[in-house]
């Protein structure tokens, strides 16, 4: 049966069809939907792990238990998981282990752009790259087989345009794959130096055998066309190259892109007059092919940053004027994403801006707090960085005799992901930073996945709810406050106190994400136009439910308002009123 599936959905389907029984992940665009689509399968255990390192460690344990296992994350998540990955390359696996890296060329919702194909030679593991949804599904099966046959984790590397683009996929029944027997084997699984020294040799030999395997791996193939132009390509770039060159070129479509099949590449190179490499981001294939002594043109023509497209290839290879822009000169204002109406982060940022304190941000919806009119966030680096940076800022100041504090802001999910070690550091090293936990009771940015603080698992089962206040107190933080994010006064009082306090402080600003289902109805806010002086103070909250009109008046869109009443607390003239029923919860 054919279904229209995104690459993420297809990978989940592949894990199901090829007998996976275990899946872990930490959510992150563009990888999130892989685990989301695995959760409904009753044959597969699935969990959201607190971070990617844990996700991979749990997956490795499951693999040793003999289960076909898939672990998925976004590109920067693989940085977090790099430590276990590089040694898992030595231990090898028992049940097949597939590690999915969803890279994001053009960083649509990421803090950097990195080409995780480089991880494969670095970690010395094989890598597969699908070029559409059908291949994404099929290659999960190939990856499990390669993993088990060659005793290695397999990197399945996709990009946003594979993860989120949909195509037709032929779906099949599931093949049940029983758990492989587990045998205690310290020489293989205990990577103390003496054992690791021996496995090091195995890893090299494995790479040699994989390279040989790659020479006849049917998913890498030559498509002969016009032999004047030969194109070596992989992943989504294959589609763009086909779109532009059609049958006016010959192609070597590489699918096992590490280790590379040297003979196949030489055969192809010898069969064409002019050889190009068309690949997105880094000159990965190009560098390795040049190292074989094969002359090839790549990044001299094809850009080395941002997403590739057929548009770009056409322009770079064939020149010509770009298509005329029919709206050149027309005013088309940008439409940046904003914190939602009723977002509980907004009042906290509103107060932080008022307090004029440096704010070390983190990765999540609250990154949007950097935009006007709030402009409250100073930094965004990686998950958990807010705590360490706030600590470093305060510590360096204190070291030089300045009493300067910085505030770190971190979400609840991110607190469990990467925030806890930073807080331990702050307490351990006698720091005096302020950590604000924006606890909106979910992983909001990626679409409401549960985490250790929500009391519910990925499968929807009730579980122990780890309370952030208990954790921070157990870590030795003496100054802990819990406030309602919607209560501007309470947030301000707590923050002012924390900034005065001598020692580390944690302020937990708690209020469920306004988009969560099943929240109490808080009614709506309305503006009493007779009382309104058009001072526009309410607009400084940046709430998208507030609409300013060309005549200077402001109204509230009742379809957008979520009733947080933050605007009402900001209005000095009492012009914003509660409309209708609804409870103040």
């Amino acid at each position: 049966m054919k279904k229209l599936l995104s690459g993420d959905e297809a990978i989940a389907r592949g894990a199901y069809e090829y007998g996976a029984t275990f899946a872990t992940a930490y959510p992150g665009t563009p990888s999130t939907e892989i685990l989301e689509n695995l959760i409904p399968y009753k044959e597969i255990y699935a969990e959201w792990s607190p971070n990617e390192k844990v996700a991979l460690e749990v997956a490795l344990g499951a693999s040793l238990a003999g289960a076909r296992t898939i672990v998925s994350m976004k590109h920067v998540g693989l940085n977090v998981a790099a430590d276990p990955l590089f040694t898992a390359a030595y231990t090898g696996v028992n049940g097949g282990l597939v590690v999915v890296s969803a890279d994001e060329p053009s960083l649509h919702s990421s803090q950097n752009e990195q080409d995780n194909r480089n991880i494969a030679p670095f970690a010395k593991i094989p890598m597969l790259e699908p070029s559409d949804s059908q291949e994404a599904k099929d290659l999960v099966g190939e990856a499990f087989r390669i993993s088990e046959e060659f005793d290695t984790p397999v990197l399945l590397r996709i990009t946003t345009r594979i993860a989120h683009a949909k195509g037709l996929v032929e779906c099949h029944e599931r093949q049940e794959v029983p758990l492989k027997e587990y045998k205690k084997d310290a020489a293989k699984y205990c990577m103390v130096p003496a054992n690791a020294m021996k496995r090091r040799v195995f890893v090299e030999e494995r790479t040699r055998r994989l390279a040989e395997f790659g020479e006849t791996f049917p998913w890498s193939r030559i498509e002969w066309g016009d032999k004047a132009v030969g194109i070596i390509t992989s992943g989504i770039s294959y589609q763009y190259a086909k779109e532009v060159f059609g049958d006016k070129a010959s192609y070597l479509k590489l699918t096992l892109t590490w280790p590379l099949p040297e003979k196949l590449i030489r055969e192809f190179a010898a069969g064409v007059e002019k050889l190009y490499v068309i690949e997105e981001l880094d000159p990965f294939l190009e560098t390795h092919i040049k190292a074989l002594g094969i002359p090839v043109v790549g990044k001299d023509i094809v850009p080395n940053m941002y997403e590739l497209s057929a548009d770009i290839l056409r322009q770079k290879f064939f020149g010509g004027a770009p298509a005329p822009n029919p709206v050149a000169g027309v005013n088309v204002p940008p439409r940046p994403p904003v914190l939602c109406a009723g977002c509980p982060h907004r009042p906290v940022f509103y107060i932080l801006k008022k307090l004029r304190v440096p704010v070390m941000g983190d990765i999540g919806c609250y990154g949007l707090g950097l935009q006007p009119p709030l402009e409250a966030v100073d930094t965004t680096v990686c998950m958990g960085a807010s705590v360490g940076m706030a600590h470093g800022f305060q510590k360096a100041s204190a070291w030089s005799g300045l009493s300067r504090k910085a505030v770190g802001v971190i979400g609840d999910s991110t607190f469990f992901h990467g925030g806890m070690p930073g807080l331990a550091d702050m307490v351990f090293n006698k720091g005096g930073g302020v950590l604000v936990v924006l606890d909106n009771r979910t992983t909001a940015m990626t679409g409401h996945q549960p985490h250790p603080g929500t009391g519910i698992t990925a499968k929807g089962e009730p579980t122990e709810e780890i309370k952030i206040e208990d954790v921070v107190r157990a870590m030795g933080v003496k100054d802990v406050a819990i406030v309602d994010s919607y209560d501007l006064k309470a947030v301000e009082t707590a923050l002012r106190h924390a900034l005065e306090f001598d020692g580390p402080s944690v302020v937990i600003c708690r209020r469920a994400c306004a988009l969560l289902k099943g929240l109490p109805n808080l009614g709506k806010a309305v503006i009493n136009q007779e009382k309104c002086t058009q001072c526009h103070a309410c607009l400084r909250t940046g709430c998208p439910a507030l609409v300013s009109h060309p005549d200077g008046s402001v109204t509230i869109d009742p379809n957008a308002c979520n009733g947080c009443f933050v605007c009402g607390q900001v209005c000095a003239f009492g012009a914003i009123e509660k409309a209708g029923g609804g409870e103040r919860g």
Binding site: L4, G167, S309, R314, V332, P334, L368, P372, P544
Partner: protein, 195 residues
Amino acid sequence: MAKVTNVLLVGVGGQGTILATRVLAGVLMQEGYDVKMSEVHGMSQRGGSVVTFVRYGDKVNSPLVEKATADLILAFEKLEALRYLPYLKPEGTLVVNDLAILPAPVLLGKAEYPYNALDILGQKVKDLVVVDAAKLAEEKTGNARTQNIVLLGALAKRLGIAPGTWEKAVSENVPPQTVDANLKAFWAGWDRGQV
């Protein structure tokens, strides 16, 4: 190369463009086409600009539509119609919702909304269909939230696919209790989309 038809659905996060795209894709699959579609998730869900590319034909390679090659654009909002107009080919069709949603910079007084968007589109687009989808949705279904399906109906008439196929795809993709309202919305749009 075999003919591929290119369609864009553009709008603002939360307007229901993804649901409309799902219905469209369902119809194209039913018709036996190779279909690829592409959208960018992530921060655009927070009230940002949203675009979905749909390509169909005998064999589709790239999931992206190139500039000046779209046969059809369905715009759920006027400013977004302007933003993505460079994708429309000169003889292409634009179906636009007569609706303005102000982006944050406009709300903050840092930018001006092009209130004359329909005039500009009228000058630039040879085949322009303007639909007051909110009004039609209210009139025909009593629910403004069906306006995405009204718009889809207006687009549907241009694709030369049997109405029954559309009815089936709409019914399969909307919540069961809203099937009737959405079918009414679809036909309201269909009637509005002149050929």
